[in-house]
């Protein structure tokens, strides 16, 4: 029998079982006696084993079989469901996940399963009270927001989004066969988005032509088309939305594992798992959020002794919340740890040679906290130990900016830190400021633009080698985009310099251009190789008049 025809189905169903298993493990840690979760775990491992045996994937069979046996012992009461069992099961999930990737890539197994099966076979629970200090019990719990309603549009339901834990039983039956829903290939969805994007671009072109013709009738027709396009765009975008929960189980697990490693007691809360995000964005949020959460646990939350001395509960709390505010998504990670001290951050940056002491004095507390997002600052070990945060925050910030979002840090020493990510609902269509530099036009996503200014030459002050201007009582350095891009410098015969203000390396900068051409709605196209390798260019787009613009990634450029 030719089994290759079943491979895709095997992979997708196996992954659904893995998700179910991981969810049930977390559910059981919170209510260990839950009989239905024990049964579901057993069945998940059993079904995985049976499927893998049919495909003759021996390694998967071995791992799944030992998980099944361990769960049978739990079910029969021979072994209690404790943290040790949870760890072993989650380890098994990770092992199989890697094995499935190998299967998918059609490469020989890259991961030896080692003594995994043996460790499960001989597992006996640790005697109570005898736990060594570094194995402090970790409690991870998830507080649910209002139970999520099922996706309302048929197309959204067609997504392979995993169901909420409470509906884990239904995960047994892959979505797609129930009445009223269909499975749709993601390429087809992407194609629909593409076409809609092209229509938006074409509308801009019609607007340009209508402007030249000055025909009221044509204008009316176009504005009606624009409305329809907006609804079409909104509907198509909904299809791309997947609930946040598609990635959230990974966070529970990473918080759990970091807490365990660092010997801290953490209470983890997650709200808003039902909020829909652009599927393209979800994947790209996994690493940044993992980073932020790891920092919060590892550097933010204090040891329990230190916490108690400070009058805090021994157990630290980390909250991950996803909310939607009309057309923006907000994700916050809040910890009740030691917080960050702006003065310490500035001192560290000066010590690293990133700032001069004079520059340090000019920074507001908010700007001082953003120093952690500067490359070079965050990698310094001694700094993270003092500041309590910062590992890889530059990478996190860059990733969020690339998604058209912003990152904000608020912190109160001794009370905790909140990191807020604000993201657009979609990454396919953006609002951008289009500027003229030399012979070319460039677009800057509006999330990166704080404001635009037309500056008279007289307002420019020279401080040392730098040219600055005053804005809201803050001295802001000026940079020429022409110079950054290696283009001839602008002349400004009327003495007025057009510029926009953005934030780079934690502080505001005025970027001077030849002309500000206004705000446009752009449909972002990813660049192919080798252009995609260019630092500072996030993508391309076509303007209404057919002209091509590069969309600049200022974080990568400056």
């Amino acid at each position: 029998m030719d089994m290759s025809q079943y491979k895709a189905l095997f992979l997708s169903e196996s992954r659904e079982y893995l998700r179910t298993i991981a969810e049930q493990v977390v559910a059981l840690e919170q209510s260990p006696g839950e009989r239905s979760a024990v049964d579901a775990l057993f069945r998940g491992a059993h079904s995985l084993k049976g499927m893998a045996a049919s495909m003759e994937y021996g390694d998967v069979v071995v791992v799944a079989h030992s998980m099944e046996d361990l769960m049978a012992r739990v079910r029969d009461g021979a072994v209690p469901f404790d943290a040790g069992v949870a760890d072993l099961l989650l380890e098994g999930v990770d092992l199989i996940d890697v094995l499935l990737q190998d299967v998918e890539q059609e490469r020989p197994s890259t991961l030896p399963t080692g003594d995994y099966a043996q460790r499960l076979a001989i597992y006996t629970p640790a005697p109570p009270k005898a736990a060594p200090a570094d194995q402090a019990e970790t409690q991870v719990s998830a507080v649910e927001a209002v139970p999520s309603p099922a996706p309302t549009t048929p197309a959204a339901a067609a997504d392979i989004a995993p169901p909420p834990a409470a509906e884990a039983e239904k995960a047994k039956e892959p979505a797609g066969e129930a009445g009223g829903t269909v499975r749709v290939k993601t390429e087809l969805l992407d194609h629909l988005i593409n076409l809609t994007g092209e229509l938006v671009t074409n509308k801009q072109r019609l607007l340009t032509i209508a402007g030249e013709l000055a025909s009221p009738a044509l204008n009316d027709a176009i504005s009606e088309t624009a409305k329809l396009l907006r609804s079409l765009h909104d509907e198509v975008m909904k299809v791309r939305l997947m609930p946040f929960e598609a990635i959230s189980d990974r966070f529970q697990r990473s918080v759990r594992s970091v807490a365990k490693k660092s010997g801290k007691e953490i209470h983890f809360e997650l709200t808003g798992r039902e909020i829909g995000l652009d599927r393209g964005m979800l994947e790209q949020l996994v690493d940044p959020l993992n980073h932020i959460l790891r920092n919060a646990v590892d550097h933010g939350i204090e040891e329990s002794g230190e916490r108690e001395r400070g009058g805090k509960p021994a157990r630290g709390t980390v909250r991950l919340a996803v909310t939607r505010d009309r057309d923006r998504i907000q994700i916050t990670v809040r910890d009740d740890g030691r917080g960050m001290e702006p003065a310490t951050m500035i001192a560290a940056a000066i010590a690293k040679g990133i700032l001069t002491p004079e520059e340090g004095e000019l920074l507001s507390p908010r700007q001082a906290l953003m120093l952690s997002c500067i490359p070079g600052f965050s990698t310094a070990k001694e700094v993270t130990d003092i500041s309590g945060r910062g590992v890889g925050m530059d990478a996190v910030n860059a990733a969020i900016q690339k998604l058209g979002g912003t990152l904000g840090i608020e912190s109160e020493p001794g009370v905790g830190t909140t990191i807020t990510l604000r993201l657009p609902l979609t990454i396919a269509i953006i609002h951008a400021l289009v500027v003229q530099v030399g012979q070319v036009k460039a677009a800057i996503p509006v999330n990166a633009v704080q404001r635009t200014v037309e500056l008279s030459r007289r307002q420019i002050e020279t401080m040392g080698k730098r040219q600055m201007f005053q804005l809201d009582d803050e001295a802001i350095p000026l940079l020429s985009l022409n110079r950054v891009l290696g283009l001839p410098l602008g002349r400004f015969p009327d003495g007025i310099l057009p510029l926009f203000v953005t934030e780079a390396r934690g502080r505001r900068v005025g970027i001077v251009v030849d002309r500000l051409l206004g705000q446009h709605e752009l449909f972002v196209k990813q660049l192919g190789r080798p252009l995609s390798k260019m630092a500072g260019v996030a993508g391309g787009a076509t303007l209404g008049d057919g002209e091509i613009v590069a969309i600049l990634d200022l974080a990568g450029l400056l």
Binding site: L9, E13, G50, M51, A53, E169, K172, E173, E177
Partner: protein, 121 residues
């Protein structure tokens, strides 16, 4: 006339594989069910000639479903299917009225031979 078979398994992968084997052998698929509750309901609706019944399933196990099906139709011809590890349940299944037991992974020749024997009584 082709014999009608109902396939019961909580795994879509397993149902698909079994369906392909049976269709190839000229059986007609009466229906499919993905748990024990559904299996009993659908049995009453489509009254198949043969049933392949998985044991480890949500909501109602294969053994429980088998007991209900036999109580409804003492002439039901049910073949139990399960992966290694559930052999202990063969006795319970036979006592409850199962006609045969197939071990997963499915071997097409074995599946068709067992089903033929069961169909011929």
């Amino acid at each position: 006339m082709a014999l009608k078979v109902m396939i019961v398994d909580d795994s879509l992968f397993m149902r698909k594989m079994l369906r392909d084997i049976l269709v190839e052998e000229g059986y007609e698929i009466a229906d499919e069910a993905s748990d024990g509750v559904e299996a009993v309901e659908k049995y009453k609706e489509c009254l198949p000639d043969l049933v392949t019944l998985d044991i480890v399933m949500p909501n109602k196990t294969g053994i429980e479903a088998l007991q209900e099906i036999m109580a409804y139709d003492a002439g039901a011809r049910v073949v139990m299917c399960s992966a290694i590890g559930q052999e202990a349940l063969t006795t319970a299944a036979t006592e409850a009225g199962a006609k045969a037991f197939i071990l997963k992974p499915f071997n097409p020749e074995l599946v068709t031979r067992v089903l033929r024997e069961v169909a011929q009584g």
